[in-house]
């Protein structure tokens, strides 16, 4: 009797066991970001934040009982590399979703492949407004970073309402990010009836900003608004010190990059930028995140705290969507993301229905605050 029961239960259990062994295939998630070059601080911090979250999820049993496998590729902040990476991740690696993109230009070039393949992408660093705005419906593109249209509204408010400046100079780099950001800034200033007195451009790799600064100085600009990335912005700050042009320095979130703060040294102090996340242990969740990051990666200052935090949160949002959908099929995960019914506790904020069919931006105006560079770190500007 016992033997037959034992035999039957083993017989019945075997296909279930085999089925579970098959289902233990890892869930492949792509990660596309700049891990080398001038944008590397953002890419590496984002990747490390994502890895932290993936390790936590895997330690807790994975998603739907399957472990998460990250497929990481360096897009080098180059548009054509981004396209190559997208094609490899979609066609060769067959990822179920991709996280990443720190550069607007790379995102704009690569996203259509994901859209065509119906694979969801959560952008966790790039801020160009066009990235989500131009996606066709139903869109597979989601974002956990603060879009440029949101940031420029915050900057315009700071310039016009808080500080009552009327003459602003805008310096933007020649990439998609810089130029599209400049367009957003012009629109945001226009709402206050303001036009900038000078608009200047610089290239990635430029080191001498004398001409641009002299133009702005001649035009008596009262404030400088910037759209660029760390190394060039540092040269702007250094040039301003050399040419004795001392005006408030307000810009997009990239002023929090370690490469700006280090290369500009004391000249970076006082720079102000919108931030979704500041490396301060203001909540228990944030404290745990910062300490885990510092311990795992042996750093004190996170090179780009915003990128790390947004990257971390993007993993949890994706995980929640996959759990809700019950499977990894693109269209189902997308629908789940658009109607998340559980609150997701993140480092940047707590997400309660962050996305909808028409709104793919997780960050709205209530989340970011203004940060300020002070002695090598970014602190809250309203202290």
């Amino acid at each position: 009797m016992i033997n037959r029961r034992l035999f039957l239960s083993v017989l019945l259990a075997t296909p279930i066991a085999l089925d579970m062994a098959h289902a233990a295939d890892p869930i492949k998630i792509g990660l596309s970001g700049p891990f080398t070059g001038g944008s590397a601080a953002m890419g590496i911090s984002m990747r490390d934040g994502v890895r932290l979250a993936v390790n936590e999820i895997n330690a807790a049993g994975g998603i739907l009982g399957r472990s998460v496998q990250l497929v990481e590729r360096d897009d080098e902040a180059k548009n054509e590399m981004g396209v190559q990476v997208a094609q490899e991740l979609i066609n060769k690696e067959e990822v179920v979703a991709t996280l990443g993109f720190a550069n607007t230009g790379v995102a704009l070039a690569a996203l259509r492949f994901y859209q065509e393949a119906e694979i969801p992408v959560i952008i966790n660093v790039a801020t160009g407004t066009a990235v989500t705005a131009n996606a066709p419906s139903p869109s597979y593109i989601f974002r956990t970073s603060a879009s440029d249209s949101l940031q420029t509204q915050m900057i315009a408010k700071e310039v016009a309402e808080v500080r009552h400046f009327t003459k602003a100079a805008i310096f933007a780099d020649s990439t998609n990010y810089g130029q599209l950001g400049k367009e957003d800034m012009l629109k945001a200033l226009d709402k206050y009836g303001l036009k900038p007195v000078v608009v200047e451009k610089f290239n990635i790799g430029d080191t001498d900003m004398t001409a641009q600064i002299l133009h702005a100085k001649e035009a008596n600009a009262e404030v400088l608004i910037t759209f660029g990335i760390g190394p060039e912005l540092a040269q702007v700050a250094n040039g301003m010190n050399k040419l004795n042009w001392k005006v408030p320095f307000i810009g997009s979130w990239s002023l929090s990059m370690g490469s700006f703060i280090d290369a500009a040294g004391a000249n970076a102090n006082g720079a102000i930028m919108p931030q979704t996340f500041i490396q301060e242990s203001s909540t228990p969740k944030r404290k745990n995140f910062i300490e885990a990051y510092q311990k795992k990666y042996s750093v004190d200052r996170i090179p780009s705290p915003v990128s790390a935090a947004q990257g971390y949160d993007s993993v949890y949002l994706l995980a929640a969507a996959i759990e809700q959908a019950g499977e990894t099929d693109g269209p189902d995960v997308r629908k789940a993301l658009e109607s998340l019914n559980k609150k997701v506790e993140g480092v940047v904020t707590d997400y309660d229905k962050p996305f909808s069919a028409t709104d793919h931006e997780a960050i709205d105006a209530s989340v970011p605050l203004m940060g300020k560079v002070e002695n090598g770190r970014v602190v809250s500007a309203t202290q």
Binding site: T36, E200, K201, T210, A234, N238, K242, L243, G265
Partner: protein, 299 residues
């Protein structure tokens, strides 16, 4: 007026760097009729090696100025070694053949290899080079100059002067001049022209490496800085004339000042244009350079 003065002063220090690179091109052209197209990479290597040495010394509690002074001879030796290597691998075989393509391609290829090695060793990110002097600008009336920019001009002139004195006073220098005037005649009087050519390559890369550590505290340093500087140095060499020492100084100053003036008055996006336009004009109307001598080839 103040603006122009400021732009001219900024242009002078940048222009002197181009002059030093062009000077390097000139040294090898004089003795061997070849150029090291990896000159920009020699500059880059000098600045990165200098960066590593200086940061290590500063971490060992040396002052920034002392660290810089200790680093200089090391970088010069590394530069010279790199020059000798380039000559041995890329130029020696190709220089004998009729066609210039061999050494042109070989030196370009070596330059690319060097850049890739540098990217792997130091990464691709731009880095801040600790300045040996204060970074606060000195004020002369309405013009503001950083002390390092003045140091660039002094350093560049000192290097060119040193090589000139070497040529005139020392026996090796005279061998160098002899080889550049007439190589066969120099062989006949017993000068080892192969060794002279090697030495000229060593001096050329040494100058480039020196230029690299001069400019690094003002700009950022990284594996990618060599390309643009090598190209502009070459343009200055052509503009000033590959046979004239004063020519490269004049050419460098003209290019540097033209760049900063264009950047201000026309647009910062067009900064690289004047150099290339001048190159085209000089090649069309005075191919031996503004200060060079027309060479008559006897048939």
């Amino acid at each position: 007026m103040d603006i122009i003065a400021q732009l001219v002063v900024s242009g002078i220090s940048v222009g002197m760097i181009y002059s030093v690179v062009a000077f390097g091109y000139q040294l090898t052209f004089a003795t061997s009729n070849t150029l090291n197209f990896g000159q920009g990479e020699a500059l880059m290597l000098g600045s990165l090696v200098g960066f590593s040495v200086v940061t290590r010394l500063i971490a060992a509690h040396f002052g920034a100025g002392t660290a810089y002074a200790i680093m200089l001879p090391i970088v010069l030796i590394v530069g010279a070694a790199q020059g000798i290597l380039v000559e041995w691998i890329a130029v020696r075989r190709g220089a004998r053949s009729r066609s210039s393509v061999t050494w042109i391609l070989a030196t370009i290829a070596l330059g690319i290899i060097l850049r890739n090695i540098a990217e792997n060793v130091w990464g691709r990110d731009p880095m801040k080079f600790p300045s040996p002097v204060s970074e606060q600008p000195l004020i002369f009336g309405s013009v503001r100059v950083q002390p390092m920019e003045i140091l660039i001009v002094i350093g560049a002139l000192a290097l060119m002067l040193a090589v000139e004195l070497f040529n005139r006073r020392s026996i090796y220098g005279k061998a160098f001049v002899a080889t550049s005037i007439d190589r066969s005649a120099a062989e006949l009087v017993g000068i080892s022209t192969t060794r002279v050519i090697s030495m000229s390559y060593a001096l050329s890369s040494l100058s480039a490496a020196f230029a690299g550590v001069l400019i690094a505290p003002v700009t950022l340093t990284g594996a990618g800085i060599g390309l643009a500087l090598g190209l502009k140095g070459f343009a200055v060499g052509i503009i000033g004339g590959l046979s004239s020492g004063l020519g490269v100084i004049a050419g460098g100053l003209i290019l540097g000042i033209a760049e900063t003036l264009t950047g201000y008055y026309i647009s910062s996006g067009y900064k690289d244009v004047p150099g290339l336009v001048m190159l085209l004009l000089v090649l069309s109307f005075r191919p031996f350079g503004l200060f060079g001598k027309a060479s008559i080839r006897k048939v």
